[in-house]
């Protein structure tokens, strides 16, 4: 065989893979750095600090009034998750099962709030919310967050629903299931993994959604991520380690939820779509 060809091919594959690996290793190293920094007493002479402490966590907690912020964060996040599920799943069912004129346009409109940067519609949204008196309230923050999350739930659920053979629903009907029984005994159990995955991803997105919350929140509706940004922005008056501590808290919360979400769904499925047929042959 042509030895040069193969050598060239192998070299290229090798270099791409080593770059990708380098990438991932760096990512992990950086996260380690912050965790180290947030628990360090001082840190000047070497890569590793002289001693470790948790005092920065305590100071971060009191400085940022984290108990209030955390309570608000969870209230907002759970309201958003519940409402996106309630509107998103039935809409996804309709989109997956029915063909109607303008279906493609509707799909495109749903994608828009996910692809367009949130600040694009965040500013007008905030303007409108303040004009209707909802600006700065928790309801306003929740409403703003629903704009990208409902379409997200719809888009994530559609492949899960399409995976369910419509003949299975027909079979349930023929064998005597009413609409409620069809939903409760067939659709819900089959969609549960998808719904859990979608809603947990909504949860993570909402925790992380800085722009919309930043633009629409008042002093009583600040979530963790907004508090963190204020801290970074006003860094001059606070210790770097204190900010790092808060970043670690934030990181830990999102990663824990993400791990829970990933237990319920192979994430590749969302992007590359389940290949397997609904029934094995």
């Amino acid at each position: 065989m042509n030895q040069l060809h193969i050598l060239g091919r192998r070299l290229w594959i090798f270099s791409v893979w080593s770059l990708v690996t380098f990438f991932i290793v760096n990512l992990l190293a950086m996260i380690a750095t912050v965790i180290t920094s947030s628990t360090a007493t001082r840190w000047l002479r070497s890569w590793l600090p002289d001693a470790y402490t948790f005092k920065w966590y305590l100071s971060a907690w009191s400085e940022f009034q984290l108990d209030d912020v955390l309570v608000t964060t969870f209230q907002v996040v759970f309201a958003v998750v519940a409402l996106s599920g309630l509107f998103g799943v039935p809409a996804a069912y309709a989109m997956a099962r029915r063909d109607f004129p303008g279906k493609n346009i509707a799909m495109l409109l749903f994608l828009l709030p996910m692809l367009v940067p949130p600040v694009t519609f965040g500013i007008p949204l905030a303007t409108v919310l303040y004009q209707t008196g909802l600006g700065g309230t928790m309801a306003g923050v929740i409403l703003a967050n629903l704009v990208p999350t409902v379409p997200f739930v719809i888009l994530v659920m559609i492949p899960f629903i399409e995976q369910i053979d419509p003949k299975i629903e027909s079979a349930a009907r023929v064998f005597g299931a009413s609409t409620f029984q069809l939903f409760w005994r067939i659709l819900l159990p089959l969609l549960l993994p998808g719904m859990l995955a979608a809603l947990l991803l909504v949860l993570v997105r909402t925790i992380a959604m800085f722009e919309l919350t930043f633009l629409t929140s008042g002093p009583t509706s600040q979530t963790l991520v907004v508090a963190l940004y204020y801290a970074v922005f006003a860094a001059g008056v606070r210790a770097v380690q204190s900010i790092d501590a808060m970043a670690v808290i934030y990181m830990a919360i999102t990663v824990i939820w993400l791990i829970i979400a990933l237990r319920f769904v192979n994430p590749a499925q969302i992007v590359t779509r389940a290949k397997q047929q609904p029934s094995a042959h």
Partner: protein, 357 residues
């Protein structure tokens, strides 16, 4: 919800029609099926056979006409209120339920007591010989086993009507033969009506008591398997049943249903399946019944071999008559392309039809 329909006498479709947009999928279907009958709806894809089945099941609403079980009108009921059993092409088992739960689903929906469900599911499992698989999920079974679960799910509710929508088309050839016998056996045991949709003529011939041939949403012929195989009533039905040869000829003589056609000077006799109206008619014949013979026998066609194939028992080939009509024939020995051949039609198998409009 479901009453006991087991004492019904017949299912009647009266002028049933179904329109999809501008397309008439089903046109004024009239059919009466007696209790105990096994009826096959046969036709190529798009002929309306699945539409008819779904209308009977209640999965599609009818556009016109009515469906009756004795004197009870059922086309106004929802699918879940009809109480029929159905077997789907791709099994359509509930993937999150065990085999036992799948089979018991219909009984559970009917609020049958648990002990009774368990007993009847056990019986159904025995009928389809799947006792050992009762607690597996459908995904763990082979295709044939899944299809048996689907059949058990349909028969366990002891329905007045079992509907089957190409239930064997996803199975391989060997399994298909086995399942055919199983389906016949189960039908005989139930004593209810089975309506079986298929595009495969072998399946319809071997399974059904009566075959309904559909085309373009209309009934073309209703008859026993022997009727359809030996005596198709229309040219297109003959075509579909494997009468691959169509040879035009001038009507030379006609007495009763016996017609003699003059095909390029050769006179062949056959049975007319309809009143022959024009001067030109079509002789319709299976390739099996047009056999290559030694030269110069009386009544044999002369033709030129175009292609020939070994099929084990015999050779099959195609040839052209002098008027360029392509014919398909059987031969006991190898012939070569380009060679002349003499072909003899079996007059007892030859049918005569009018030309198509």
């Amino acid at each position: 919800m479901s009453k006991d329909h087991s004492a019904f006498r017949s299912l009647r479709l009266e002028q049933v029609g179904r329109v999809f947009g501008a397309h008439n999928a089903l046109k004024n279907l009239n059919l009466e099926i007696q209790r105990g009958e096994f009826v096959a709806l046969l036709g190529p894809s798009g002929c309306g056979k699945s539409t008819a089945l779904n209308c009977i099941a209640g999965l599609l609403t009818t556009s016109s006409g009515s469906i009756w079980l004795d004197d009870r009108r059922i086309d106004v009921l929802d699918a879940e209120e009809r109480g029929f059993g159905m077997v789907f092409q791709n099994y359509a088992l509930f993937p999150h339920m065990s085999v036992r739960q799948n089979i018991g689903f219909g009984l559970k929906m009917r609020d049958v007591p648990k002990a009774e469900i368990a007993k009847r599911v056990d019986q159904a499992l025995a009928t389809v010989r799947l006792e050992s698989q009762a607690d597996k999920l459908p995904g763990q079974l082979s295709g044939g086993q899944q299809q048996r679960v689907a059949i058990a799910r349909a028969i366990v509710i002891e329905p007045p009507l079992v509907l089957m929508d190409e239930p064997l088309s996803n199975l391989d050839a060997k399994l298909r033969l086995e399942m055919r016998q199983e389906i016949r056996r189960i039908h005989a045991g139930l004593g209810s009506v089975t309506i079986y949709v298929t595009h495969d003529q072998d399946e319809a011939l071997s399974l059904a008591d009566r075959i309904v041939v559909l085309r373009d949403g209309e009934i073309r012929q209703v008859g026993t398997p022997e009727d359809l195989y030996m005596r198709p009533a229309k040219l297109d039905v003959a075509d579909f049943m494997g009468f691959r040869n169509r040879i035009n000829g001038r009507v030379a003589q006609q007495s009763g249903d016996q017609v003699v056609l003059d095909i390029g000077g050769v006179h062949v006799q056959g049975q007319a399946r309809e009143t022959i109206t024009g001067p030109i008619a079509v002789a319709s014949l299976r390739p099996d019944d047009l056999v290559a013979v030694a030269a110069s026998e009386a009544g044999a066609f002369s033709a030129l071999v175009e292609a020939i194939e070994y099929r084990g028992r015999d050779f099959f080939g195609s040839a052209r008559l002098p008027d360029q009509t392509e014919v398909f024939f059987r031969s006991h020995h190898r012939l070569n392309a380009g060679e002349p051949v003499h072909l003899m039609a079996d007059k007892s198998k030859l049918l005569i039809f009018n030309q198509e409009a």
